[in-house]
C-alpha cells in the first residue's frame, strides 16, 4: 500500500473489513479511487471467514 498522491481527491474510506467492506473496497479501486480499508482486528474477512460453508450451495466459505 502506497500513499495517495493527492490526499483529498479521489479517496474513500471503508470502515469494516468483512465481506461487505472488502467488496466495496475492491469495486472502488476498480472504479478508479484510492481506498483506505479500516479493520479493527488483525485480519480482514469478518464473520464470513468463520463459516464452514455457505447456504444454499454449500460452497466453502474461505
Amino acid at each position: 500500500m502506497g500513499q495517495a498522491k493527492d490526499k483529498k481527491s479521489g479517496t474513500v474510506m471503508v470502515v469494516g473489513g468483512g465481506i461487505a467492506g472488502v467488496q466495496a473496497a475492491l469495486d472502488l479501486t476498480e472504479l478508479g479511487y484510492y481506498v483506505y480499508l479500516v479493520e479493527k482486528s488483525a485480519a480482514i474477512g469478518g464473520a464470513m471467514a468463520q463459516l464452514d460453508k455457505t447456504f444454499p450451495t454449500n460452497d466453502c466459505s474461505l
Binding site: 474513500v12 465481506i19 467492506g21 467488496q23 463459516l51
Partner: protein, 916 residues
C-alpha cells in the same frame, strides 16, 4: 493503528513462533472452543498473512519477560518496538460496513447456555463442523467428547424477541440452521436433527428448494416455541409448546441456539463519530427509497449494519455503496490512484536458447521437515536447459523476490521454475517479480511440492522427496516449451444499454450518469415506471407516486440518459466493451429500427404479477370481491369514505411455494401486512384474517407484523395438508379453513377475498436466447456466482437487477440496480478490458469449422465466422474468454490451443513423468 509487533514485510507466516510461544490463549476465531497462543494468526488463509501478538496476553508486553519468539523467528520479523499510530486522512466519501454484533449472553442463559457445555450458539456449532475447527470437523459433545445422536436447533434466539429489545427478524438464521443441519447430517447420516421454529423464513432465491432438500434428508421441522432447556442426566431436556397449546419435552445431546444478528456493539460510537443517525435497534437509519444513504451526506452504509442480511445481499449492497460513493466524487476519479510501472519486457524469441532457473523452497519447515530439499535441488543439476538452481528458506518473502530478480539478471534466465506451495495463492506474486525483472509473466512454472508432497505424504519422507523430484522434472520439461504470451487489452465503447424503464432501470441509469457515462434506457411500454405505477404507499408509509415522479423527472432531465419508450431490443451482436444492438420502436403500426453501439448491458426487464386461475386447488375468478393484494391496495388508496371492506380474508402463497410456482415470491407477506394495517387505520372495526404458511416479514418488517397483530389482525397458519377451501356464495366467496387453536373448522364469508399472488418472470426466455444467458428452472436469470457475483451474468459485460433476477421488494431492487450500475461502470471507467494471457487460440489452418466449440463454450467466447475465402472458422473472443479450456479439449482436430497449457507443453510433462 494498533501494532502487530511483527514486521509484515519480513513475516512469512511459517508458524514457528506459535509453536514455541509458551502461553495459552482462548481462540476467539474458533469461538472460544480451542486454544491458541498470544502470537498467532487466526487461520491459514488470513489476509494479511502476517502473524500478530495479542498485547493483553503476551508475557513480554505484559511482564517484560520471555521473548522466546524473537529467537525462534528465522526471518527476524518480531518487532516489540512498534507503537500505536494515529493517522489523519482526508477523504472524499465514507462507506460504513462494520457488520453485526452479538446477542448478549443473558438472552441465551434461559436455554442453559453458559451453564451446560452442550448448549452452544450456531457460530460455535459452525466451528465444530469446520475442518479447521477445534475437532477437525468431527461433531462431538463438548461435555464428554461423545458423538451426539440427537441435535436440536432453536430458532429466533435474540430475534423477534422484545425481551432483549430485538423486535426485528435477523433474516439469516433459518437458512444457516438448515445449512448446519444438512452439513451435520452429511458428517453422520444417523443423526436425528430437529429444528424448532416459528416461521421458516427461507425467502431468498433458491432457498425454499434447499429447505425441501433438508426435509428429504430427514431433518425434522417443528413449529413450536421452546420454553427452556435443562440438564437431564447426561442429556439436555428441551421443553416446547406447539400452536395447539400442548407442552412436550424431548432429550437431546446438543442444543444449538440460532442466535440472531445484533447491532454492532460500537454502533452508537460510530454514529457519533461520523455523525449519522441510528434506528430504534441501533442499526443504521435509512429510507426505503434511499437504502444506502445515512443521514449524513457523503457517508454510505452497506452490509449487516444497514439491517440484518445474508452474504449475497451484503455483497450487492457493497457494490452499490461503492457506486454511490464513486458517483459523489466522480470528478476526482483516478486522481489518487497509484500506478505501478514495470521495466520494458525483454524479447524472448522461439529460437532463443532456453535458460531455466530452478528455485526449491523450504517453506520454513513446512516442506523441508519432510522433503529433502537439498537433494531435490541437486537433482536438477545438468537437466536440459537448467542453468541455475538454488534453495530458499521462504521463496515468497520480500528479500527472496529481490534475490530472484538479481539471479534472473545475473544468469540471464528466461524461464523460472519455483518448487514451493500452491500456485493458487502464490503464482501472482512470482509473476509480479518476473515482470519487475523484465520477463513476460507467463515464462513461469510453479511446482507444488508442499500440498502435493510434504503435506499429503508427511509420514513418508523418502517417497515425498522422490515425488518432489518427479514433479520438478515434469515442471522443467514443461518450462522448456513455455512461450511468452501477450498482455492484451480491448477498447470499450463507454455507453450502457439498460433494458427496462422500471425503478430498477431508472435507478441504474442515474447511477451510471453519476459516474459521467451515457446510457440508453429502453422501455417496451409507453410510460416509464413499471410496477411502481400500480403501488400507492410503502410499508413505512412513503407515498410511491411522489417518489416515482421525482425519479422519472430526474432521468428525463439528465443529459446523459436517452430514454426510448415503446422500444424493445431485437438483435444484439458483439461482446463486452463492444456491443452493437438493434432497437425496434413501435408507434402505432409503424416500427422503426435504430442501431446503437454500447459497452455494457444491464437487464432490468422486471417481472409481472402472477394471476393463477387455481389457488390451492380452488378455481378462482377475479372480481370485485376476489382481488389480488395489488388491487386491494389500489382500492384502499382511492378516495371516498367506505374504502375499507368490513371483512377481509387474505390468503398467502396463492400460487407460490409449490402451489403452481415453486418459489417464494418474497414480497407478498409484507404486502398483506401493509394492506391489513391500512384497513385497520381506515376502519379499526374491520375484521382482517390472514391465512398463511410462514409469515416472512423478515428484517425490520417484523415490526409491522407485530403491529398488525396488536391492532387485531388475525393470523392463522395453514399447511399444504389442510388447505383453505373456497366456495362461491352469491357474489361473494366463502372460505373454510382449519383453526389450529380452536382445533376446529371455521367458515367465513368475507366482503373481500384478497389473494397474495406472487411474481413471475417476464420475457426472460426470449432475452436468454438473444443474449445466450442461462435462466434457472423458475425462468429467472442465473447470476455468475450466487454469493460473490450476484449482479453479474456469466457473459462478460452483461448485468442483471430487479425482478428479472428474482422476486424482491423495492428497497432491494434499488440496491441491486445501483450495484449492477456500479459493476457495469467498471469497464466504462477503465476504457478497456484486460485480457488474461491464458486464453484459447484457434489455428485457422487446422480448423474445420464444425462449431462444436461455439456450442460448448459456457461464456459465449468463441464463435464461428466466415474467413476471407468464405470458409467457416472458429474465432476466440479474447475480451471475454476465461481460459477454461473446454473448447481446446473438445476440438476434434486439435486446432485450439490454450495459452500456457499447449498440447506440446502437456505432452512434454507427461513424457518427463515416464522418463524417471
Amino acid at each position: 493503528m494498533r501494532p502487530r509487533y511483527i514486521d509484515a514485510d519480513k513475516c512469512t507466516a511459517c508458524g514457528l513462533c506459535t509453536k514455541y510461544c509458551p502461553r495459552h490463549l482462548v481462540d476467539q476465531y474458533n469461538e472460544g472452543l480451542a486454544v491458541t497462543r498470544p502470537i498467532h494468526i487466526d487461520y491459514a488463509q488470513a489476509v494479511p498473512a502476517t502473524y500478530f501478538i495479542d498485547p493483553e496476553a503476551c508475557l513480554y508486553l505484559k511482564h517484560g519477560t520471555c521473548q522466546i519468539c524473537v529467537c525462534t523467528c528465522q526471518s527476524k520479523a518480531i518487532d516489540f518496538s512498534q507503537k500505536a499510530e494515529e493517522k489523519e486522512l482526508q477523504i472524499g466519501a465514507v462507506i460504513m460496513a462494520p457488520g453485526f454484533g452479538r446477542v448478549p449472553d443473558a438472552t441465551l442463559a434461559k436455554y442453559s447456555y453458559g451453564s451446560h457445555p452442550d448448549v452452544m450458539t450456531s457460530l460455535e456449532f459452525e466451528r465444530l463442523l469446520c475442518a479447521s475447527g477445534p475437532f477437525e470437523g468431527e461433531v462431538k459433545c463438548l461435555s464428554d467428547r461423545r458423538h451426539p445422536k440427537r441435535i436440536a436447533f432453536i430458532q429466533c434466539v435474540g430475534s423477534r424477541d422484545l425481551g432483549c429489545n430485538n423486535g426485528y427478524c435477523s433474516s439469516v438464521c433459518c437458512m444457516y440452521a438448515i445449512k448446519e443441519a444438512m452439513v451435520a447430517k452429511e458428517h453422520d447420516p444417523e443423526l436425528e436433527i430437529t429444528i424448532y421454529y416459528m416461521d421458516m423464513r427461507t425467502q431468498g432465491k433458491g432457498f425454499d428448494a434447499a429447505q425441501k432438500k433438508a426435509e428429504a434428508m430427514g431433518i425434522r421441522f417443528v413449529r413450536a416455541r421452546v420454553a427452556d432447556v435443562m440438564p437431564w442426566d447426561k442429556n439436555l431436556k428441551l421443553t416446547y409448546s406447539t400452536l395447539d397449546g400442548t407442552h412436550s419435552f424431548e432429550p437431546y445431546d446438543i442444543v444449538v441456539l440460532s442466535v440472531g444478528l445484533d447491532a454492532p456493539a460500537d454502533a452508537k460510537n460510530l454514529g457519533e463519530i461520523a455523525g449519522f443517525a441510528l434506528n430504534d435497534y441501533d442499526f443504521c437509519k435509512t429510507e426505503t427509497f434511499a437504502p444506502l444513504l445515512t443521514t449524513k451526506p457523503g457517508v454510505f452504509v452497506a452490509g449487516a449494519f444497514q439491517g440484518p442480511k445474508d452474504i449475497p445481499e451484503s455483497v450487492t449492497q457493497s457494490s452499490a455503496a461503492a457506486g454511490l460513493a464513486a458517483g459523489l466524487i466522480a470528478k476526482d476519479r483516478g486522481k489518487a490512484l497509484v500506478h505501478k510501472t514495470y521495466p520494458k519486457e525483454q524479447k524472448t524469441g522461439k529460437d532463443e536458447e532456453v535458460r531455466i532457473g530452478v528455485f526449491v523452497c523450504h517453506c520454513g519447515i513446512n516442506i523441508s521437515s519432510v522433503v529433502d530439499v537439498a537433494s531435490v535441488e541437486q537433482y536438477t543439476e545438468g537437466m536440459e536447459g537448467v542453468v541455475y538452481h538454488a534453495q530458499s528458506l521462504y521463496s515468497c518473502s520480500q528479500d527472496a523476490q529481490e534475490v530472484l530478480k538479481a539471479k534472473i539478471k545475473e544468469h540471464n534466465l528466461n524461464r523460472v521454475v519455483i518448487a514451493a506451495c500452491s500456485p493458487r495463492t502464490h503464482e501472482p506474486l512470482f509473476q509480479e517479480t518476473l515482470k519487475d525483472a523484465g520477463l513476460n509473466r507467463c515464462l513461469f512454472e510453479m511446482v507444488n511440492i508442499r500440498d502435493h508432497c510434504s503435506w499429503v505424504h508427511a509420514n513418508e519422507p523418502a517417497a515425498a522427496t522422490q515425488k518432489s523430484k518427479d514433479l520438478v522434472r515434469m515442471g522443467i520439461a514443461k518450462a522448456r516449451h513455455i512461450q511468452p504470451l501477450p498482455e492484451q487489452t480491448v477498447p470499450v465503447t463507454n455507453k450502457a444499454l439498460i433494458l427496462g424503464g422500471g425503478v430498477a432501470g431508472l435507478t441504474a441509469a442515474l447511477t451510471i450518469a453519476d459516474q459521467g457515462f451515457h446510457s440508453y434506457v429502453i422501455e417496451k411500454e409507453e410510460k416509464l415506471g413499471g410496477h411502481l405505477q400500480h403501488l400507492s404507499y410503502t410499508l413505512q408509509g412513503e407515498k410511491v407516486s411522489t417518489v416515482l415522479s421525482e425519479l422519472t423527472d430526474k432521468v428525463k432531465k439528465n443529459k446523459l440518459i436517452e430514454v426510448l419508450t415503446s422500444t424493445e431490443m431485437t438483435l444484439v451482436n458483439g461482446f463486452v466493451g463492444n456491443f452493437s444492438s438493434v432497437l425496434t420502436t413501435t408507434k402505432g403500426k409503424k416500427a422503426t429500427e435504430t442501431t446503437i453501439d454500447h459497452g455494457v448491458i444491464i437487464i432490468a426487464t422486471g417481472g409481472r404479477e402472477h394471476r393463477p386461475e387455481v389457488v390451492l386447488g380452488n378455481p378462482v375468478k377475479y372480481s370485485e370481491t376476489v382481488v389480488t393484494q395489488r388491487e386491494l391496495e389500489q382500492r384502499l388508496a382511492g378516495k371516498g369514505k367506505s374504502l375499507a371492506p368490513k371483512s377481509v380474508v387474505m390468503v398467502q402463497c396463492a400460487g407460490s411455494r409449490g402451489d403452481d410456482l415453486n418459489y417464494c415470491s418474497k414480497v407478498c407477506c409484507n404486502h398483506a401486512v401493509k394492506n391489513a394495517l391500512k384497513i385497520k387505520s381506515l376502519d379499526p372495526a374491520s375484521q382482517v384474517v390472514v391465512l398463511y404458511r410462514d409469515m416472512r416479514t423478515y428484517g425490520f418488517a417484523e415490526d409491522a407484523y407485530r403491529e398488525a397483530r396488536e391492532k387485531g389482525v388475525v393470523f392463522i397458519p395453514y399447511t399444504m395438508d389442510s388447505k383453505p377451501v373456497f366456495k362461491s356464495s352469491g357474489k361473494k366467496m366463502s372460505v373454510t379453513f382449519q383453526d389450529p387453536i380452536l382445533r376446529d373448522e371455521v367458515t367465513m364469508t368475507p366482503e373481500v377475498l384478497a389473494l397474495s399472488v406472487g411474481i413471475v418472470s417476464e420475457g426472460t426466455d426470449d432475452l436468454s436466447k438473444l443474449l445466450k444467458i442461462p435462466v434457472n428452472e423458475d425462468k429467472f436469470f442465473l447470476e455468475a456466482h450466487v454469493k460473490l457475483r450476484p449482479v453479474e451474468l456469466p457473459v462478460s459485460g452483461v448485468y442483471v437487477c430487479g425482478l428479472a433476477h428474482s422476486p424482491k421488494p423495492v428497497e432491494e431492487i434499488i440496491v441491486q440496480a445501483q450495484a449492477a450500475a456500479a459493476k457495469a461502470s467498471i469497464p466504462l471507467c477503465k476504457g478497456f478490458v484486460s485480457v488474461e494471457p491464458t486464453i484459447s487460440c484457434v489455428d485457422k489452418e487446422a480448423c474445420i469449422g464444425c462449431g462444436l466449440c461455439e456450442s460448448l463454450c459456457p461464456y459465449q467466447s468463441i464463435r464461428i465466422i466466415k474467413d476471407e475465402n468464405g470458409k467457416r472458422k472458429a474465432e476466440t473472443i479474447t475480451a471475454s474468454c476465461k481460459g477454461c479450456g473446454i473448447c481446446a479439449s473438445h476440438c476434434p482436430v486439435f486446432a485450439i490451443s490454450m495459452g500456457g497449457y499447449t498440447d506440446e507443453q502437456i505432452n512434454a510433462q507427461i513424457t518427463a513423468f515416464g522418463a524417471q
